[in-house]
């Protein structure tokens, strides 16, 4: 037994030195990627995902459009070197399709698709590294990327995973903990307190469910603060850039040159 990693030791610490309810550190990068309308690289502990948004734009296949709202299309690509063992997953892998479908159904009620009839919003998710909490990292990164793309949403969507070790609830599980514990992912809309996603793939005792569910809701609020700060930072940077360009009109010098030429 001693060689096994303890999930939660007597001092109340987990295998990576966190407390029960402590989240891993998050870093958010919303800088431009190629020609995407919005993108976000989110690193949650050692899990790293890159989400790019295109749209709302004309659909590649007109037959798939809807006359009264936009269609959300999610494509997930898991890089072969993202896990310990190299494994190529085809794009039509069941596990990947399921992840894509989950992301899609999470965002359908939040994105105001009715504003863009007959168009399509493409969400491309690249999984660069996996260390547990893949779904919640994808959801959080997608929220931020959608905001960066300027697509109207009713609220943020903040997701976090939670599990239970004997009777002790834990938040934000790593791969090691996910393999051993029953766990679920909850996505909340922090302002309204509504829940758009509850994903549970393992068996969880019914008495424990309510506790984790509530905790995950509270953790969502904490994540919301972090995500809001990232959005604020990005927006203030944009505003600053706009102001500096307003102060120095580009045409200023050229106008003088034009006048010189007029003298001829």
């Amino acid at each position: 037994m001693s060689s096994r990693v303890e999930i939660l030791n007597d001092g109340g610490y987990r295998s990576d030195g966190r407390r029960q309810y402590e989240l891993r550190d998050i870093s958010i990068d919303t800088s431009q990627q190629g020609s995407a309308d919005g993108c976000c690289t989110l690193r949650h502990g050692l899990t790293e995902v890159l989400v790019t948004i295109f749209g709302p734009r004309e659909a590649k296949m007109r037959s798939q459009t809807l006359h009264d709202r936009a269609v959300i299309n999610v494509e997930v690509n898991v890089l072969p070197f993202s896990t310990g063992e190299r494994r190529r997953r085809a794009r039509a892998d069941r596990r990947i399709l399921e992840l894509a479908a989950t992301i899609k159904s999470t965002f359908e009620p939040v994105v105001q698709t009715a504003l863009y009839p007959r168009s399509q919003v493409d969400i491309y998710v690249q999984v660069l590294q996996q260390d547990g909490g893949l779904l919640h990292a994808c959801v959080n990164a997608t929220t931020l990327a959608l905001i960066c793309a300027g697509i109207p949403m009713t609220d943020f969507v903040c997701a976090v995973s939670g599990g239970v070790h004997s009777t002790e609830p834990l938040l934000d599980l790593t791969m090691l903990e996910e393999n051993d514990l029953p766990h679920m992912t909850v996505a909340v809309m922090p302002r309204t307190g509504k829940v758009t996603l509850v994903a549970l793939e393992t068996r969880l005792h019914v008495d424990r469910f309510a506790e984790i569910f509530k905790l995950a809701g509270e953790a969502g609020q904490a994540l919301h603060k972090e995500m809001k700060r990232a959005v604020r930072n990005r927006t203030s940077r944009l505003v600053d850039a706009m102001e500096t360009s307003m102060k120095q009109p580009v045409g200023g010098e050229r106008d003088v040159v034009m006048e010189d030429r007029m003298d001829f």
Partner: protein
């Protein structure tokens, strides 16, 4: 290759400004200038070697440019029963993110991926470049070295960037040390006594059944000795090739085309050179992409020019890789010793 669709007028505009005297490019470069290349190695913690390369990122906005992520991973393969090859093998795969080519359908994207994979794999997996430390046990076990490249964004000249990223990732690759082991029956004992029995019996003799000396010939299995570093560097660091794409516009040619320039150059000539130390330079691959013709005499001068550009690129890349090596290994070791 996939090029952004540009209008006839735009194409003529770009072509005529490239052919003008002095030639003009939208970003102010001269014909033979490369965009700024950013390179970082060791970006994927779970890979044996990795690199992230960005070509043409704008420093103010922190975005744009062609972005490639490359990683190598080693797996053990069985030569007798599995698909392994004695002495190891190299497999190269290119994946294109749909966000790099938003205009392409998924079928077109698959085709593009296949094209790029073919070019990379045929060049890098050639026996002339094969590293000699990919074997583990002769005729039994060997490493499979898989090189995975991902195009995260394409702002033109993806092929040069892919080759550069592949070279950086392979340069960064560490092969774990292995030690062959074998079980032996007791000397002079019964013929049917197996190794486990010999090990359990303390009177069996001074020699341990678990012997690692002189076993290169008939070792059965191998072990990974516990050591402080990640292993030895992959052999043939200096051989991995670099690629230059010459975009031909009849009287002249230009390097490192952006997407719109790529769309307006009718013919591209792909040259891949390897510059092994103390050996003559070798041309590893050559491809003409696009429709058009070239005179043989022209071809010769293009080859000579290409070699010159590739050498410059190679030297710049080599300097950067050595720099990265110092940053990640020498300095990290110093920091560790300070603690």
């Amino acid at each position: 290759m996939a090029t952004a669709s540009i209008s006839k007028a735009e194409r003529t505009y770009i072509q005529s400004s490239l052919q003008a005297n002095p030639p003009l490019r939208a970003d102010g470069r001269s014909l033979l200038d490369y965009r700024t290349v950013f390179l970082e190695t060791g970006v994927a913690p779970l890979a044996n070697g990795s690199a992230r390369l960005n070509m043409g990122k704008s420093p103010q906005e922190g975005g744009g440019g062609t972005e490639i992520l490359a990683a190598t991973k080693l797996e053990v393969e069985d030569v007798e029963t599995g698909g392994g090859v004695d002495g190891g093998r190299l497999v190269c795969t290119v994946t294109c993110s749909p966000s790099a080519y938003p205009q392409l359908s998924s079928n077109a994207l698959d085709e593009l991926q296949y094209d790029l994979t073919t070019v990379l794999h045929q060049t890098l997996a050639h026996p002339a470049l094969h590293p000699c430390n990919l074997g583990i046990l002769p005729r039994k076990k060997a490493w499979l070295l898989s090189v995975d490249l991902v195009v995260l964004a394409d702002a033109g000249n993806a092929l040069d960037a892919l080759f550069m990223a592949a070279r950086a990732a392979l340069w960064d690759t560490k092969v774990p040390r292995t030690r062959p082991i074998q079980y032996q029956g007791r000397r002079g004992g019964g013929a049917n006594e197996d190794a486990m029995e010999a090990e359990g019996d303390p009177a069996a003799g001074a020699r341990s059944a678990f012997d690692t000396r002189d076993m290169k010939r008939d070792a059965a299995d191998f072990e990974l000795p516990d050591y402080w570093d990640e292993g030895e560097v992959l052999d043939g660091r200096d051989r991995w090739p670099v690629c230059v794409t010459l975009n031909l516009l009849p009287p002249t040619h230009f390097l490192d085309a952006t997407s719109s320039e790529e769309g307006s150059a009718p013919v591209k000539l792909l040259l891949t050179f390897s510059f092994p130390s103390n050996q003559p330079t070798s041309l590893q691959a050559m491809r003409m992409i696009g429709s058009g013709e070239l005179l043989l005499a022209q071809m010769k001068s293009l080859l000579a020019d290409g070699e010159k550009y590739a050498r410059d690129l190679f030297q710049a890349l080599e300097a950067k890789l050595r720099d990265e090596d110092v940053r990640r290994n020498v300095k990290a070791r110093g920091k560790f010793a300070m603690r």
